[in-house]
Every structure is written in structure tokens, then in C-alpha cells.
């Protein structure tokens, strides 16, 4: 229940300490800097976009270079690397890298230009390769492809479509000549090569027949080869291949050189972080107002950090610091602080919306119900244990992981515990695995008895239990609404908006339970005594009357009021659908259990024995993995839905803006606070 109290902070400092103060703020990361709207003849803004752009550019450049080195060195990221988080850089390395900034960046540029050359030469190779491929059919031609004939003869070197034999071509030619009524005999056809698509030919004829031959060949679809070379095709191919080899050697050398820089990869990553850091510092500078010798910084800070920071700034940098209550009309950023049990679900709350300034932080209540609902929907002890172990081990192994990842894993860790508990209560351990394994492989009849009851045997009971949980959840939401109303001193509204609904819903439920039909359905041995039914019925009616006459109280006209009141009463249907919505607790819980049973059943279809057992094990592992994946997703999504739609609907609007302090936003390295960043 903790939205941290935020304070408005104003720092007045000397210009000469501005840099060190900004660096101090960036290291501490506790102040969200807001735009100081003060511009006059004395105070003015500073435009730093040019500097920050340069730093951003350098940062991107260093990152690219580091990526190129990593890619060339097969520095494959492992699947688990996303859990590792950023490394903490030692101060020794920090200063060493900064000292070598120029050298590191020179290598960065070098790597980029090498990479550019590689891609250029690769495209050159593929261009040459294309030429080689087009020359390949001409390999057997032992003269230049530009050869046009001797003094008395004319030569045609080119391509005819499709695969043709020498006879085919000469037949075609003589047919053509016959049609044209000319007689040409003195020509020779040589097939250089042929494939399915084309035939490469060398045709020679007398000079006087040149025109007819040309016409005939054109008719047959003759085409001259592209870019004929001066040398013979064979020589040309050798030459081209030589050039390709040169390029390949070059590329190999470039890659070798890039690989040689593997030690610099980390330094480049650091430089990328370093430049980002500096760019952000310059961006923050734009928010300040500066005079010739002083500057003013405004922003927000949480109450607990305020005193420490004030002390540091005043003592070390001779600044004047003013900390005051923020104006209620400002949009104060929201900073949540919760204990380790409920803080994991802060991420879930964030995906909906953070509380606005009039609201309380619902995280604590949400957390309790979140874990319960998730467990009930996932409801299998085996799955719960797996989830708990996986998340737990990851948490223990990767201590350095990012905060939001840590929160998520912790949340699933708690969900795993809850799932395990529900699993044992409802008698599900990998579905009915215990029973199936015992009866198939050991011929024994062992069942894991549920500690409470099995929803497959009595789904109605489970359904009623789900509705009961739902009503508790909704009533909690309503109670939180009452708390908020009281906080804002709207006492009468508590009666109109909260107590009236308690009366309607509780009264309604109890009245239904006093009828024999419903009592029977729920599984009560006999209905509640009729006196209870009468009293609760009266309560419900009073509640309805209250809602009818009060929910339109903001309107002036009595007709409008009554109509709005009637609409308020119509809200009963939304309560009904809200409560029914909790039936998903049963449905999803059953679906986990039943699908697990399906896989167990498929597994046992091969009977007992060793082979049967091996097949069973394979199906067991694959099947349950699928089931865990799909049902964990389902449980997650629908738990969120119950919180966001049903629960929040009763009291929560959200719309707060997240506290976003000015801090070191690095990608690769964590920079410890004791390092003075320059």
C-alpha cells in the first residue's frame, strides 16, 4: 500500500558546479528532472541537441562495431543470457577504458570500415561469379567471342533457344533458305555446348551470304552473348576466377583482422554505454534554466531520498536546495514501494496503469488474490513444483539480473508455490500420474488422495467455491473504494456506493440460499432458515432503494435523477456477470487437470514393460511441457483479466505517470556509484 510520498525539489547552484551536480544526480538516480519554465533576460535555456546527437551517434557506432566483432567470432548468446543482466564494471576497467577512448573508437571505426569492405567485396564476388557462370558454356570455344570472321568469311557466335543438334539447325536453316529461294551451301555449324534451355553455336559462312545467314538466324531466335571478351572464354574464366580469389583472400584477411579485435569488443560495449550516459546528461541539461553564473533545476524526488540528496548537494557542491510539498494540481510521478511479497505484481499493475494521485496502491491486495487465482487455475502440484524450482534456480543463479525480470520470476515463484498447494488440495500431480504409473508399470493401485476434494468428482462444489472467491475478491475491491472515499472525506458516499451494494449482493445471495432449489444446487443439506431469507431479502430491497434514489445524485433534474438511479439498479446485472466470470477458475483448473490426464492416458497406450515405459516417458515429458506452456499462459492471462476487469472496476482508475528518475541508463554495464563519471 505504498505510493511513495513525492516532494518537489528545486536546486539552485553555481554554474561552475553544474557538471558535477548533474553527474551526482545521474549516479544517484533519485530525481526526475522536469522542465524549468523560466526564461527571461537573465535566465535562458541551453540547446544541447547537437552534443547529445554526436554522443548518440558514437554510442550507436560503438555498439555496431561490438556486434560485428561478436558475430564474426561466433560469440553466440546462450538462451539463458537474458537472465544474466548487466555486468558490473570495475573502476579499474572504467578508467582504463576512458583513457583509451581514442584508440578504442579508432578500432571501432576500423571494424566498421572493414565490415563495409567485406560486404562490398562480397557483392563484387557475386557479380564476377555471375560472369563466370555466363561464360561457362563457352569454355570449349578456342577463339575470342568477339571474332566476327576472316577476310572472306563471316562468323556468328551466339545462342539459339532450346537444345538443338547440329542437324536440327542445318535443317532449319536450309528450310529458311528454300523459302527465300536462295541456295547457300558453304557454311559450317559447330555446337560449343548445349543445355536444356539453350544451345551455344559457332556458325561460319562466306561473306557474300552474310545477310541471308543473319536473317535466317534471327528468324531462329539467335542472340549474341552478353559482354563478349577479347580473350578466349577459357582464359577469361581463369582471369575472373583469379580476381574472385583475390577478393576472397581479402575478405578472409578482413575477418581475421576483425577476429583479432575480440578483446576490444567489451571495451566498445562500454564506450557505447559511456556515450549514452553522456548524451543523456546533455539532454537533461536542456531542462535547466541558466544564468551567466547560476542555474536552476526543478524536479521530483521521493521523500526518503530527499534529505540525503539535500545534504550531499549543499555540502559538496554549495548548492541551495528547496524541498517542498508538491502542488496537488501538478501531475506528480508515481513511485511504488512494496514488500517483497507483493512487489513482484507491480509489473502487472504497470501493464494496466499506475494509480493516479487520488488513489491508493492496490498492489498488496492484488498480490494475495493474484497468487490464489493463478494457483487455482494452474492447480497441479507437479507443475507448481516445476515452476517454483525453475524460477527459484534462475533467481539464485543469476543474482545480477535486471529488476523487472527479477520481479517477474519472483511472481511466478510465488505463483508456483500457490499452484503446488492447490494441486495437493485438489489431488492433481501431473494429472493422475501417480495412479497411472502405479497401475501400468507396477500393477498396484495407488492414488494420490486430494487433501480437500477433487473437482472432477464434484465440479459443482468447485464452481460454488469459485463464486465465493469471486464475491470475496469483489467485496475487497468495494472495501478499497470505501477506504478511498473515507480518505477523501466523502463519508455519505460510502453508504450510497459501497454499503448499498454490500446489502444488495449479500442479501441477494443469502435469499437465494434460503430457497430449497439453490441450497440443493450448492450442496447444502437443507436451505437456510426462512427467517434469514426474509431478513436478507429485506436488506437487498433496502439496498436497491438506496441505489435507485442515490446513484443519480449528481444530476439536478428529478426525472434525470430517477432514470440514472434506475440505471444504477441495472448495475445488478453487471454484478451478476462479474461473479459468473469467476467460473473461469473452475474451467481453467479443470482444463489443466484433464489435459494432463489425456497425455497420461496416451502414454499408457503402449502398455507396460521397458519399451512401454520409454514411450510413456517421452510422451509424458513432451505432453506435460505443452500443457504447462499453454495452461500457464492461460492462467496468467485470465488472472490478469480478473484483476483488471472485475476487481479494478470496483475502485480503480489508474492513469498515474511512472516516476522516471534521471539516471544511468546503460545497456551492457552497471556502473557503480563510487565511480565518478566524466
Amino acid at each position: 500500500m505504498a505510493v511513495c510520498k513525492m516532494k518537489h525539489i528545486t536546486v539552485f547552484g553555481l554554474r561552475k558546479y553544474r557538471k558535477s551536480i548533474m553527474e551526482h544526480l545521474q549516479r544517484c538516480g533519485v530525481v526526475e528532472i522536469r522542465n524549468t519554465e523560466l526564461e527571461d533576460s537573465v535566465f535562458h535555456k541551453q540547446d544541447t541537441s547537437q552534443q547529445s546527437n554526436i554522443f548518440h551517434k558514437n554510442s550507436a557506432l560503438a555498439m555496431k562495431a561490438a556486434e560485428i566483432i561478436d558475430n564474426n567470432c561466433d560469440n553466440k548468446k546462450s538462451l539463458l543470457s537474458s537472465f544474466e543482466g548487466r555486468k558490473v564494471i570495475s573502476s579499474e576497467d572504467y578508467y582504463k577504458f576512458i583513457d583509451e577512448e581514442e584508440e578504442i573508437m579508432r578500432i571501432g571505426y576500423r571494424v566498421l570500415s572493414l565490415n563495409k569492405s567485406i560486404s562490398e567485396e562480397k557483392s563484387e564476388i557475386s557479380r564476377l561469379q555471375l560472369q563466370v557462370d555466363s561464360l561457362e558454356p563457352w569454355r570449349n570455344l578456342d577463339i575470342s567471342m568477339r571474332f566476327t570472321g576472316t577476310k572472306t568469311t563471316s562468323a556468328f557466335i551466339g545462342i539459339l533457344p532450346e537444345n538443338q543438334q547440329k542437324e536440327d539447325i542445318s535443317n532449319n536453316l536450309s528450310e529458311f533458305f528454300k523459302e527465300k529461294n536462295v541456295e547457300i551451301k558453304g557454311y559450317d555449324i559447330e555446337i560449343i555446348s548445349s543445355s536444356k534451355e539453350q544451345t551455344c553455336v559457332f556458325i561460319i559462312c562466306l561473306n557474300k551470304d552474310k545477310e541471308y545467314m543473319e536473317a535466317a538466324l534471327r528468324f531462329l531466335g539467335f542472340a549474341k552473348p552478353m559482354s563478349p571478351s577479347k580473350a578466349t572464354p577459357k582464359e577469361r574464366i581463369t582471369e575472373l576466377k583469379k580476381r574472385i580469389r583475390v577478393y576472397e583472400d581479402n575478405i578472409e584477411n578482413y575477418i581475421k583482422e576483425i577476429k583479432g579485435y575480440i578483446g576490444i569488443s567489451n571495451a566498445l560495449k562500454f564506450m557505447s554505454d559511456y556515450y549514452t550516459m553522456r548524451a543523456e546528461k546533455y539532454e537533461a541539461l536542456e531542462l535547466l534554466s541558466n544564468s551567466k553564473r547560476t542555474f536552476i533545476l526543478t524536479g521530483y524526488i521521493s521523500e526518503k531520498d530527499a534529505l540525503n540528496l539535500e545534504k550531499d548537494l549543499v555540502n559538496d557542491y554549495y548548492a541551495a536546495v528547496e524541498i517542498e510539498e508538491p502542488n496537488i494540481t501538478e501531475d506528480i510521478p508515481v513511485y511504488l514501494k512494496n514488500n517483497s511479497f507483493s512487489s513482484p505484481v507491480e509489473n502487472v499493475l504497470e501493464t494496466y496503469s499506475l494509480p493516479n494521485k487520488n488513489e491508493i496502491d492496490p498492489t498488496n491486495f492484488m498480490a494475495i488474490f493474484y497468487y490464489i487465482f493463478f494457483g487455482l487455475m494452474f492447480s497441479d502440484a507437479g507443475y507448481g513444483i516445476i515452476m517454483f524450482l525453475v524460477c527459484g534456480i534462475l533467481l539464485l543463479k543469476y543474482k545480477n539480473m535486471e529488476d523487472s525480470m527479477k520481479k517477474n520470476l519472483k511472481m511466478f515463484c510465488f505463483c508456483g508455490i500457490s499452484t503446488t498447494i492447490w494441486g495437493f488440495l485438489l489431488g492433481s500431480f501431473f494429472g493422475d500420474a501417480v495412479n497411472v504409473i502405479a497401475s501400468t508399470f507396477f500393477n498396484k493401485d495407488i492414488t494420490l488422495k486430494p487433501l480437500w476434494f477433487s473437482p472432477l468428482d464434484d465440479p459443482m462444489k468447485m464452481l460454488m467455491f469459485s463464486f465465493l472467491l469471486g464475491i470475496i475478491h469483489l467485496f475487497t475491491g468495494l472495501a478499497l473504494n470505501a477506504y478511498q472515499l473515507i480518505k477523501h472525506k466523502k463519508y455519505i458516499d460510502v453508504f450510497y456506493d459501497v454499503i448499498s451494494w454490500y446489502m444488495i449482493v449479500l442479501g441477494g445471495v443469502l435469499t437465494l440460499l434460503s430457497t430449497s432449489m439453490f441450497a440443493d444446487m450448492v450442496g447444502f443439506s437443507k436451505p437456510l432458515p426462512s427467517i434469514v431469507g426474509k431478513i436478507s431479502g429485506a436488506c437487498a430491497v433496502i439496498g436497491i432503494i438506496v441505489v435507485l434514489f442515490t446513484s443519480g445524485r449528481t444530476s439536478k433534474s428529478p426525472v434525470k435523477r430517477l432514470l440514472k438511479g434506475a440505471y444504477g439498479v441495472y448495475g445488478i446485472t453487471s454484478w451478476l456477470s462479474d461473479i459468473l466470470s469467476y467460473s473461469r477458475l473452475l474451467a481453467l483448473g479443470l482444463s489443466t487437470g484433464v489435459i494432463a490426464q489425456v497425455f497420461n492416458k496416451i502414454g499408457t497406450m503402449f502398455g507396460g514393460g521397458i519399451i512401454g515405459f520409454i514411450l510413456f516417458a517421452i510422451i509424458f515429458i513432451i505432453g506435460h511441457s505443452i500443457n504447462i506452456g499453454i495452461n500457464a499462459l492461460g492462467a496468467y492471462v485470465h488472472t490478469n483479466r480478473l484483476q483488471f476487469v472485475e476487481f479494478f472496476n470496483k475502485f480503480y482508475e489508474g492513469g498515474g505517470v511512472k516516476f522516471n528518475p534521471f539516471k544511468i541508463n546503460t545497456k551492457y554495464y552497471k556502473i557503480k556509484e563510487d565511480i565518478k563519471n566524466g
Partner: protein, 160 residues
């Protein structure tokens, strides 16, 4: 003719499985197409769009679930597959809610999922909302599932 009951029951089983299955297949397919488009632009969003793509997959599973419950109760998987025609028809009717609601809700949900994927493409931080909007559609499949399950369990105890 005596065994016609089990025939009706199995037709119900088939309907629940393949109609809900078709719905999910169409739905996941549509969402997958949209998801691929996002991944082509930004492969790092794979995890996010995968979740949205999988949302319409549940209807098929609900269908499978009801089918499995019926199959185990009518004794097709070993045991005595002898139930009356009336009971077979009752099982058949029990399968219908999830068969139809599954088919259409999965397809409708896929439209919401595609829209949700476009939210993720533009504003990945708003993914939670995209999921919730998409999950809303599923409510009706869950309600149908609930009625199907309750009916199947109810029919088991009926003496017809």
C-alpha cells in the same frame, strides 16, 4: 440399433473436437500471419507476439477437454460402451456449446489478436492491454466450456 447411443455420443465428441479445433487453427493462423509481419520488422518482439498468437489456441483445447471427458464416460476407451439412445443424445447436446462457441469465438478472438499484435508493433509497452482486450473474447468460450463440462458430469448421473 442398441448401440446407437454411443454413436450419437461420439458424433458429439467429434463435433466438439473438430469445430473448436477448426476455430483455433484459423485463429492461430491469422494471428500468426500478423505476428510474422511484426517479426520481420523487429525480431525482438517474438516473445510478445507469440503470446498474442497463442490466445485463440485455447478453444481447440477446450474442445479436446470436453471430448476427452465424454470419451472416458461412454466407455469407448475400454469398458462397456453400451449407453441408451437418450443418453447418447444428451452427451451429443452437451458437446454442442463448446463446439459452436469454440469455433466462432476463436475466429473472433483472432481478429482481436491481430489488432493486439498491431498494438505491440507500435507500442510494445502497452502489451498488457492488448492481451486483456483479446482475452475478453475468450470469456464466452469459457462459459460454453463450463456448461459443456457441467452437462457432461450431469448426464453421467442421469438414469436414462
Amino acid at each position: 440399433m442398441d448401440n446407437l447411443g454411443v454413436v450419437f455420443a461420439l458424433i458429439g465428441v467429434a463435433l466438439a473436437t473438430f469445430m473448436a479445433g477448426i476455430g483455433s487453427a484459423v485463429g492461430v493462423g491469422k494471428a500468426g500471419v500478423a505476428a510474422s509481419g511484426v517479426i520481420a520488422e523487429d525480431p525482438s518482439k517474438f516473445g510478445k507476439v507469440l503470446i498474442l498468437q497463442l490466445l485463440p489456441a485455447t478453444q481447440g483445447i477446450y474442445g479436446l477437454l470436453v471430448s476427452f471427458l465424454v470419451i472416458t464416460q461412454i466407455g469407448v476407451l475400454g469398458g462397456d460402451a453400451n449407453i441408451s439412445i437418450a443418453k447418447g443424445l444428451l452427451y451429443f447436446a452437451s458437446c454442442l456449446p463448446i463446439a459452436f462457441a469454440g469455433l466462432f469465438s476463436a475466429i473472433a478472438q483472432s481478429k482481436a489478436a491481430v489488432a493486439g499484435i498491431s498494438i505491440v508493433a507500435k507500442r510494445p509497452d502497452q502489451m498488457g492491454k492488448a492481451i486483456i482486450l483479446t482475452a475478453m473474447v475468450e470469456t464466452y468460450a469459457i462459459l460454453a466450456l463450463l456448461i459443456s463440462i457441467l452437462s457432461v458430469f450431469g448426464v453421467k448421473g442421469l438414469a436414462v
